[in-house]
Amino acid sequence: MNIENKMTIEFESRSINESLARTVVAAFISPLDPTIEELSDIRTAVSEAVTNSIIHGYTDEIGIIKMECFIVGNELSVEISDLGSGIEDISRAMEPLYTSRPELERSGMGFTFMEVFMDNLEVVSVPGVGTNITMRKRVGSVKEMQEYTQEINHNVL
């Protein structure tokens, strides 16, 4: 597989755009022929990052959220950024179950899901400036692995 593609979308920090972001990333990776599980992993991780920009980054104001997607070979990389409040203490923010907004029934599982569902997660944030989340995931890798395993089995038998 030798696909290359890139796109950038900017949208307002309205909760209605959470599903827009998921749909866009799903459409963007469809040439990679992802499994249902990979699609769901990526949609969830993107949903978490975008929701965070809306709730935590911009709180009550409408700001612009930017999502940049790249495909190189069979790897997707997604960068989601806001020019919102930023994060004071990134390592505390990334702890499972930590949330600064329990009154909104946030579960504190957003970063955990991004980590679990993607191969790689990087968080850059400056208080008062904004937050930038970069996530990477190889897509279609499960299928490749299966083919590889089948090959090995074949070789052994």
């Binding site: 959470e18 599903s19 249902i36 029934e105 946030r106 899901f113």
Partner: protein, 115 residues
Amino acid sequence: MEETKYEIVRRVLIIRLQKDLDHHCAVNIREKADKIIDRYYIKHIIFDFSKAKFMDSAGIGVIMGRYKKIKYSGGKVVVSGLNKSIDRIFNISGLYKVIDKYDTADICLQKIESA
């Protein structure tokens, strides 16, 4: 766009989720459900996911929030019809420690009422 459906059977509230349970929908569901719970003296809640395709961590908040609201009066939250992805979210987040899952909303109702 399909709206979440609310059904009351005796003192059980069945919430039938449609399509996506994300932060956008969570805000509405939370408000609507809490009104119904207070008004109709709801004891137990069934979240039926058979028409739902997607849930993220906002869904955990909605479910745990309702769980906390009714557990003091001995109520239960049970769920049905989860697809693989949503089931995985439940597993990873540990929701199954306090919430039971059955195949259909009907079975949930039976289990609750026979308990």
